[in-house]
């Protein structure tokens, strides 16, 4: 795993335009890991030289091959949010049934796997709770297989596990759901590419500008340094923010282990409108 070592099976001179075909998995982990480290090293050197901190992922991140034709090449244009962007769609009790937060009871039997409870708080960039807002989650089963027609990984489907949940945060921004721990799964970015176990999250804030889709990971996963999706975030501290912590206070007696994962959305800009909230208030 030394950084200097070249992957011998990779023809040199082809690095300019890597093959992005999904069924092509010829490149070695060593090559991908080398690219991952090169990006991070350059980022660290830049930081030491005064470059700004990057809090999120790079859109242009060559080790994740599918980004090559899908990342914008022009800079994002700075925009002041206009009125509509300073509000978020509203979801309520009629949109989400409380039982949708339990991914282990959607079928007749119990899913196979380690039962887990995941709990955390959603706040905005000023630390204010995001109240009564929609959280959507989806994940692979304990064997690392998604209930999705495009997932061809030959691991077993679990007839008792779909892996989709929805919930609303409470009045203090807390969410909680029950599930089983997802397994890692292979993908076709390169030869022996395996994703660390993760749960996908979709979140709305108080403003449309805070909309985010992300992934929660589990502590201590040995696949972290090898995974070009986790590593799209070049800042090590920022990557840490995607890793849940084991929390014995959330663990339940003889039932499930507990994980805590708090989520911070980008800064809120609607403060000035706080007094002008619509009087209907039917989001309460």
């Amino acid at each position: 795993m030394s950084k200097a070592s070249e992957a011998p099976e990779t023809p040199s001179g082809t690095a300019e335009v890597p093959d992005t075909r999904l069924d092509r998995a010829a490149e070695s982990q060593e090559k991908i890991t080398g690219e991952i480290r090169a990006v991070e090293d350059a980022y660290r050197a830049g930081r030491e030289a005064g470059a700004p901190e990057e809090t999120g992922p790079r859109l242009d991140y060559p080790p994740y091959r599918s980004t090559l034709l899908r990342h914008p090449t022009k800079s994002l244009v700075h925009a002041d949010p206009e009125t509509i962007e300073l509000f978020s769609p509203v979801f309520g009790e009629r949109d989400v049934h409380p039982l949708e937060a339990d991914l282990t009871i959607q079928h007749n039997g119990e899913p196979i796997g380690e039962r887990i409870t995941v709990r955390g708080r959603v706040v905005d960039g000023d630390g204010r709770p995001v109240r009564r807002q929609l959280v959507e989650v989806w994940q692979a089963n304990a064997a690392g297989r998604y209930m999705h027609k495009r997932d061809q990984h030959p691991a077993p489907l679990d007839p008792n596990f779909t892996g989709v949940g929805r919930m609303l945060t409470d009045d203090d921004g807390w969410y909680e759901f029950q599930s089983v721990k997802p397994g890692p799964y292979p993908w076709k970015n390169h030869f022996k590419a395996w994703r660390p176990a993760h749960i996908h999250f979709s979140l709305f804030g108080r403003e449309f500008t805070q909309r985010v889709v992300t992934q929660m990971y589990f502590p201590g996963d040995p696949l972290f340094p090898l995974d070009p999706i986790f590593q799209t975030i070049p800042d090590a501290a920022a990557r840490e923010r995607l890793i849940a912590t084991y929390d014995h206070d959330i663990t339940t007696h003889e039932w499930a282990t507990g994980y805590r994962w708090d989520i911070v959305l980008t800064g809120s800009r609607r403060t000035v409108f706080e007094q002008d909230r619509p009087e209907e208030g039917d989001d309460e």
């Binding site: 700075h78 925009a79 889709v213 923010r241 995607l242 980008t266």
Partner: protein
Amino acid sequence: MSDLRPTPGQTVGPFFGYALPFERGPELVEPGTPGAIRLHGVVRDGAGTPIPDAVIEIWGAAPDGSVVQRSGGLLRDGTFTGWGRAETDAEGNYWFRTLEPGATAEGGAPFFAVVVFARGLPDRLFTRAYLPTPARETDPFLSGLGERRRTLEVQREPDGSLRFDIRLQGEDETVFLDFVEAARA
């Protein structure tokens, strides 16, 4: 502002199709609703190839310019909530049936706020789909974009539908927005 750093985004991945899309997600209004329009387009990559695994969400004001703050967006029980979600099909097409948003301020140029997610896209992209209105011609934000403003301009098709193509990369790359940096500036 505070010192809290945001939780980074991650790609929506390839396997959202059984999770994020929901029944009648693209249908913000029932067929035959007065004023109902079809907003549609193709999402393409840097090679011009349609992207079959993207998710598009729109968020728009009501026709009178008010911001709808009513629940029911996942329920589709006839309540217009201004928000919709569509996944692209095998040919990269998405579509919504909705109402044309009004201007939220006097003389403003009405637009749909749009967010794009896709496999191979490590974070969401925000953009705006501006309706074909006279106000659009003098909108200061659009004017500041020069030639690239065209990528944010919805076209009215001969059949009356509204077309908004999204290009993630390339010559006619859509203008994508950064609100956070603007907030810090």
